[in-house]
């Protein structure tokens, strides 16, 4: 993949230097310290892991079309859903937006030449690859059957390759810690003159909040998983009931990270959505400070709600009430963001380009995902719904409907910037619609079958054959969803070679990356030093609308 990316550029007449064509060797890519190239390396890596995770998902869906199971034995089914969860959470969702788009855009958005620590940045990528390789190695050596949550005592007594897998996750975790250290130092110290905190794009604010969560949460899960490895290897027991240890303590420590991990996944998505919505509504964002501070509020409150995963794990009712209450409070800052985005669109001149369609899809799905989260945060409904497909549907709405749609929206929005070429708008819009439809067909039936009582992680349901209808519907939807994900993979790759070269600002957007930076950017990002004079998002609805129309016509090759 990297070799193919390098090919282009030299063939163009009027050769223009940029970060892609400065050097063409594989070595120059593998030893690069350029944050943009590292972003591209991450893009290739996470796409690969997403592809593997999707294969596991397809196997799960195929298995569930029959009440008796058709493809996998029980052991292999356990290993399949574990592989799906582990790859998607640790090797895709947690890293996708920060590591790909964050690495690429953060320095440019604040007017810097690179991250504060470029070599540490490259080290993060290598650690990510080593961690991912160990995880894949553990699958190749027979797999892992404890799910992505690794609850003890299952994970300490299981005979599968859990230790290798956990070491891989540990290394990946430290990779994201180093990325977070880099983000924090970069945002604090590398801003261009005039780039005050309140002139930062909201994208930067959300990445700052994400970095804080990573810094505070990831080490806790790292040590927790490490203790499981120690218990398996040396026979020490901190979580073993027979040694006086407490298995529930594992759950507390695990969710202390893994609830905030949801915000590691969704906060960068919020940042992407803020950028897209304000650009395609041609209006300054409504309530800039509310959105910025709600990110920080989410980062803070996110650490106080982990117990809502443990309402039925021997937690006292008093604890349950407190965790439930804070979980409800946590819905407020998320809702603030949604209202502000909606208010931004109100009376704006909204353009339904591909990134905007993805962003609107995000809004719809995130609202459903968030509101069903409230069902699960209330004590009595949770007792009925926990451990069922209702939960599966809820977190897929948040993680797939939220994070992946925002990720794809961001990729489509900044693709012209990253590679200097445009993709087909027609195919882009079609893919957004297909993914939205496929997603809902896949996961909405899971709410219903979960409410009826279908437990998660089961692959037989022959006692209730009537559930087959929902499962077949879900599997059919996942096929549509799979086609939807394949479409961008094809037309975006195609655009690398045959896409129409575009200027620095194909969307007529505001921001340093659009207004002061070539597409693709030069290695130093900016030809001249940056001095920020304007406030962020200074769109003028009336004036910009006309200008934008022209550029869109131009970009679509005459169609509109």
């Amino acid at each position: 993949m990297s070799a193919t990316l390098i090919e282009q550029g030299t063939q163009e007449p009027g050769f223009k230097r940029n970060y892609l064509n400065t050097d063409h060797t594989i070595k120059s890519w593998l030893l690069t310290v350029d944050h943009k190239r590292i972003g591209v390396l991450y893009l290739i890596a996470v796409t690969f892991f997403f592809f593997l995770g999707s294969i596991a998902a397809a196997m799960i869906r195929y298995e569930l079309t029959s009440p008796h199971g058709i493809l996998l034995s029980s052991e292999v089914y356990n290993k399949t859903f574990s592989a799906h969860g582990i790859l998607m959470v640790f090797q895709f969702l947690v890293v996708a937006i920060p590591a790909v788009l964050g690495n690429f855009l953060l320095p440019i958005m604040i007017g810097a030449r690179d991250m504060a620590f470029p070599r540490l940045n490259l080290l993060s990528w290598y650690m990510f690859m080593v961690g991912g390789s160990l995880i894949l190695l553990s699958f190749a050596m027979g797999g892992v059957d404890a799910g992505w949550t690794f609850y003890v005592p299952l994970s300490t007594i299981s005979q599968t390759q859990i230790s290798i897998c956990l070491v891989g996750i540990f290394i990946t975790g430290f990779s994201s810690i180093f990325t977070a250290v880099n983000f924090i130092a970069t945002i604090h110290k590398m801003r261009a003159p005039g780039m005050t905190w309140f002139r930062l794009p909201l994208y930067v604010w959300s990445h700052y909040s994400t970095a804080l969560v990573i810094l505070l949460g990831t080490p806790v899960v790292a040590i927790t998983l490490f203790l499981v490895v120690v218990e398996r290897t040396f026979g020490f027991g901190v979580f073993s009931a027979e040694l006086g240890g407490d298995p529930v303590l594992f759950q507390h420590l695990f969710w202390f990270y893994s609830h905030p991990a949801v915000y590691i996944m969704i906060l960068p998505a919020f940042g992407v959505i803020s950028e897209i919505i304000t650009c395609f509504s041609r209006r300054p964002i409504f309530g800039y400070k509310f959105i910025a501070f709600s990110s920080l509020a989410i980062a803070f409150l996110g650490f106080l709600v982990w117990g809502h995963h443990m309402f039925i794990s021997s937690q006292s009712v008093f604890q349950g009430v407190i965790f439930s209450l804070i979980s409800f409070i946590l819905a407020v800052p998320s809702a603030i963001k949604v209202f502000n985005w909606t208010a931004t669109m109100y009376k704006g001149s909204v353009h339904f380009s591909t990134p905007m369609l993805y962003a609107l899809g995000f809004l719809g799905l995130f609202i459903i995902g968030g509101l069903t989260g409230l069902f699960l945060a209330s004590l009595d409904t949770d007792v009925h719904l926990t451990g069922t497909y209702f939960i599966v549907a809820h977190f897929h709405y948040v993680m797939v409907g939220g994070t992946i749609l925002a990720y794809l929206g961001g990729i489509h929005f900044w693709w012209p910037k990253m590679f200097g070429r445009t993709y087909s708008e027609t195919w882009g819009r079609l893919s957004a619609i297909v993914i939205f439809a496929g997603f809902n067909i896949t996961f909405f039936p899971q709410f219903m079958v979960g409410y009826l009582g279908m437990p998660r992680r089961y692959h037989y349901y022959y006692t209730e054959p009537s559930w087959q209808f929902y499962h077949i519907l879900s599997t059919a939807g996942s096929t549509v969803l799979g086609v939807g994900f394949l479409m961008p993979a094809i037309y975006l790759t195609y655009s690398l070679f045959k896409g129409k070269p575009c200027g620095p600002n194909p969307w007529g957007a505001k921001g340093l990356e659009w207004e002061h930076c070539d597409s693709p950017p030069i290695t130093e990002n900016f030809a001249e030093p940056i001095l920020v004079m304007d406030n962020v998002y200074n769109y003028d609805p009336a004036a910009d609308s006309a200008k934008y129309e022209n550029e869109e016509v131009d970009m679509l090759g005459g169609r509109s």
Partner: protein, 246 residues
């Protein structure tokens, strides 16, 4: 952001920075951010320790008597000394006194090795007493070793003051839990000491060679910050593990 320094002699400024100040501030901030992560990393273990100690206080008290507080005390002194020398090294680095800086770092390195030697003794002794918390563990099964150690604070003084002494019973399985935590905490701390040794050694080699990487005091300061953190963890570990009150 300050204006770019004129390109006269002095520490190298990397391409991504505008000025030396910016570079130094970035490095220091990055190190602090990393130490926040480290605090959370050890924090989780301290939390586990606290919960179990509250729950199984008697067992933990009896198990902790198997640890040698003199050895731990010696290590505390060693690490405190090294903290002082590393602070002096940063001081001399800022003054540009290379020989003194190297000497201080050398003493720090010696202390680090000394710490590891004492720790290895202790670990060895635990092995002799079958206190590794795995299948070889046998605690409280040896006859005649029923916690007869008389101490001033726990026996002599309470008797002199006619304070009723609470009878304590230890559960060997809980003692195993104590030693699990003991070995995990001190083992991870020891690993950090080893990383510190590698960092200090590399720093000394670079200074010795007059490498352009180290024309600046900040690398010494970063290593110093890290080393202070390692010491600080021990300052918490020592009383928590070795000096549990009755």
């Amino acid at each position: 952001m300050a204006h770019a320094h004129p390109a006269h002699e002095g520490p190298e400024v990397y391409f991504q920075y505008e000025s030396l100040d910016q570079q130094q501030e970035s490095y220091t901030l990055g190190m602090w951010a990393f130490l926040v992560t480290e605090v959370m990393f050890f924090g989780a273990l301290f939390l586990i320790y606290t919960l179990y100690r509250m729950k199984f206080h008697e067992d933990f008290f009896l198990a902790h008597e198997q640890l040698n507080w003199k050895m731990g005390g010696l290590n505390t002194v060693i690490l405190l000394t090294s903290s002082m020398t590393v602070a002096l090294a940063v001081h001399f680095a800022q003054k540009g006194k290379k020989a003194a800086q190297l000497t201080c770092l050398g003493v720090t390195l010696l202390c680090a090795f000394g710490f590891l030697v004492v720790k290895t003794w202790e670990y060895g002794a635990k092995g002799d007493h079958h206190l590794y918390p795995n299948w070889t563990f046998s605690y409280g099964h040896e006859e005649g070793k029923e916690h007869k150690v008389k101490s001033f604070w726990d026996d002599t003084l309470p008797q002199a003051l006619h304070i009723e002494k609470k009878e304590m019973h230890g559960n060997p399985e809980r003692a195993k839990l104590f030693f699990s935590i003991y070995f995990t905490l001190t083992g991870l701390h020891g690993l950090h000491v080893v990383i510190g040794i590698i960092a200090i050694t590399s720093l000394m080699i670079l200074i010795w060679r007059n490498s352009s990487l180290i024309t600046d005091y900040v690398p010494t300061e970063l290593v110093g910050l890290y080393w202070h953190f390692v010491d600080l963890v021990w300052i918490f570990l020592y009383p928590l593990l070795y000096l549990i009150p009755r």
